[in-house]
């Protein structure tokens, strides 16, 4: 077997183990899907009535942002899961077995796609219930959902690195919160980036999360008559998102695998 095939086969064994865990501790899944529901309702009803966006319906504009935010928060699951495995010593067991060095990470990031798919589904239903509509073709809508999953998969690899690097589940959650919040908010997720002051505006325009939200917004047909900001990243959001995904994976896949090799149980 080639080493990639071996890594995928071993990864599947790890992923199966992670998915079995969902059936044993379903509470985790329930709470993971509750927070997107909460966000949709909060933004739709608290901010929805007060924020006006020229040329678009705010509730529809907002959904892409909440989708982006949720899949990014969902990816912290990867880091928390790995940190937990480290503290419980199971990583030592895995490392003493003749499996591919990438297997545990491939399995973990792979099974976390499932979590994100579920939260996207729940979020879509909640969105439909509060009046969000897809105004494009089915193919474009599916492309939008796949783009979200792909981006969250890439962010999972960043979180995998964090999870292997830091000492505990709590630290993973708090540390990633500190980085994710600004990244998600200094973007065009919830408000158009045009209104932000100078440097923040530039940051928001080139923030891959803006591109993701913009891409999803366009694929769902929720942009209204509001033209995107006049920068390359937001004029070509799908392409820019794909480039970001490739860049993140190119850096963090090897980095995380190396960290896994070094990781000692704590």
């Amino acid at each position: 077997m080639s080493s990639l095939a071996l890594a995928l086969a071993d990864g599947a064994v790890v992923a199966k183990r992670n998915l079995i865990k969902i059936t044993r501790v379903p509470e985790v899944l329930i709470w993971t899907t509750m927070s997107p529901i909460m966000f949709v309702l909060l933004f739709a009803y608290v901010f929805g009535g007060s924020i006006e966006i020229a040329g678009a319906d705010y509730k529809e504009y907002l959904m892409a942002g909440i989708f982006a935010q949720t899949v990014i928060f969902g990816s912290t699951f990867t880091g928390a899961g790995l940190a937990e495995d480290m503290t419980k010593g199971i990583i030592d067991r895995f490392r003493s077995l003749p499996i591919s060095k990438a297997a545990v990470l491939i399995g973990r990031t792979g099974s976390d796609i499932f979590y994100n798919a579920i939260s996207i589904a729940v979020m879509s239903l909640t969105g439909l219930a509060v009046g969000w509509r897809i105004r494009t073709s089915l193919a474009e809508a599916i492309a939008g959902l796949l783009l979200l999953l792909l981006f969250s998969y890439a962010v999972s690899w960043i979180m995998a690195y964090v999870g292997l690097k830091v000492s505990s589940v709590e630290v993973v959650n708090n540390a990633s919160f500190m980085f994710i919040m600004p990244l998600v908010f200094i973007a065009n997720t919830f408000v158009p980036s045009d209104n932000l002051p100078g440097p923040l505006r530039t940051f928001a325009e080139w923030n891959p999360i803006s591109a993701l939200a913009q891409a999803v917004r366009e694929l769902f047909g929720n942009t209204g008559s509001n033209p995107p900001a006049d920068v390359w990243s937001l004029q070509n959001p799908v392409l820019y998102t794909l480039i970001s995904v490739a860049a993140i994976l190119a850096v963090f896949v090897p980095l995380s695998i190396r960290q896994y090799g070094k990781a000692a149980a704590r």
Partner: protein, 336 residues
């Protein structure tokens, strides 16, 4: 089957292993005996490819651990001091997963999992999440996981630390069955008695260095075997009590006046104890306490190094082992 020479591992300023040489022939059980922080776990982690040595050579099953770690992993089984099983999976699922990771294939992995559950008396619990298992059951499952691929060499890192006495003796029986089958085993322990029960040969290590080697009997002889200890009510009885002990002692009777304590090495075990009691009552000597003491790890240490296990220098004793101890505590909490 296991051979190391001049193994060195440092954590910052702390030397965990300081030129360790080990040799375990095929089919033998070697006990690595030492207190917390002596370097036992570090040695196991290096031999099981989890950690790289700073210098020195290590060979397992004829393979160099540093240059062929992937091949070594196929031939070894590791059962750690912190039962490394997934508590959300059932016993069966844990073993099946490990089988798949040894690439036994779907069918063989399942068969093997059932076989091992049967062998370790876990069949009834096999389809319950491991979370519901007792400490002893978890250790057995962890040991079963180490045996999935019928490894040529087995590493047991403190297999009974933290177990209650009943689970400990069960675990000993399990391991004894295993070694009768001719496995090559490296076992680490803090308990002299455990090494005595399970091992062909014992290497005593302290601060990453080998300080003694031999069979349990050889070591005990070196330490002085069993001792009888008498604590007097009145110091005035000292000469009379000393005479009673001297009649049976195999060495000098040691007298500690402040604590009114006399100790002497004996060779006759409980029979000698009975004779001492008889002799003392005939001489009209009143005692607070009389007892037969078997040599403990601490005695081994005292006689080999001149210091107690607890009297290690804080720097050497605390840095890495301190960390280890902390980890153990948190894990115990997690288990509860």
């Amino acid at each position: 089957m296991i051979r190391t020479s001049g193994l060195v591992k440092r954590y910052g300023d702390v030397v965990a292993l300081d030129g360790l040489d080990l040799l375990v022939p095929q089919g033998e059980v070697l006990g690595l005996l030492g207190p917390n922080g002596a370097g036992k776990t570090t040695a196991v982690r290096i031999l099981t490819t989890l950690l790289e040595a700073d210098s020195g050579e290590a060979e397992v099953a004829g393979l160099n651990v540093q240059t062929q770690p992937e091949k070594v992993k196929e031939r070894i089984g590791l059962s750690g001091q912190n039962a490394a099983i997934d508590e959300h999976l059932t016993g069966f699922e844990n073993l099946d997963m490990v089988g798949r990771m040894y690439h036994l294939g779907r069918r063989r992995s399942r068969e093997r999992a059932r076989e091992l559950l049967e062998r370790f008396s876990l069949t009834d619990a096999g389809d319950r999440p491991a979370k519901t298992y007792s400490g002893g059951m978890r250790r057995r499952l962890d040991l079963a996981a180490a045996l999935v691929a019928e490894p040529q060499v087995l590493f047991l890192d403190e297999p009974t630390t933290g177990l209650d006495p009943r689970s400990r003796s069960q675990m000993w029986e399990t391991i004894q069955d295993l070694v009768r089958g001719g496995s090559t085993v490296l076992l680490t322990t803090q308990y002299m008695e455990e090494a005595d029960q399970l091992c062909d040969d014992i290497v005593v290590i302290d601060k990453g260095r080998k300080i003694a080697e031999g069979t349990a009997d050889q070591l005990k002889k070196q330490v002085g075997g069993e001792r009888i200890e008498v604590v007097l009510v009145d110091l005035a009885d000292l000469p009379a009590a000393g005479a009673v002990l001297r009649s049976l002692a195999v060495d000098e009777v040691q007298i500690d006046e402040p604590s009114r304590r006399l100790t002497a090495g004996v060779s006759g075990g409980v029979d000698d104890l009975r004779l001492v009691l008889q002799g003392l009552s005939e001489a009209g000597v009143a005692v607070v306490d009389v007892g037969l003491r078997r040599p403990t790890l601490d005695d081994v240490f005292l006689s080999l190094t001149g210091h107690h296990t607890e009297e290690e220098e804080p720097a050497a004793g605390d840095a890495k082992p301190g960390k280890g101890a902390k980890v153990k505590d948190t894990k115990k909490e997690a288990v509860r």
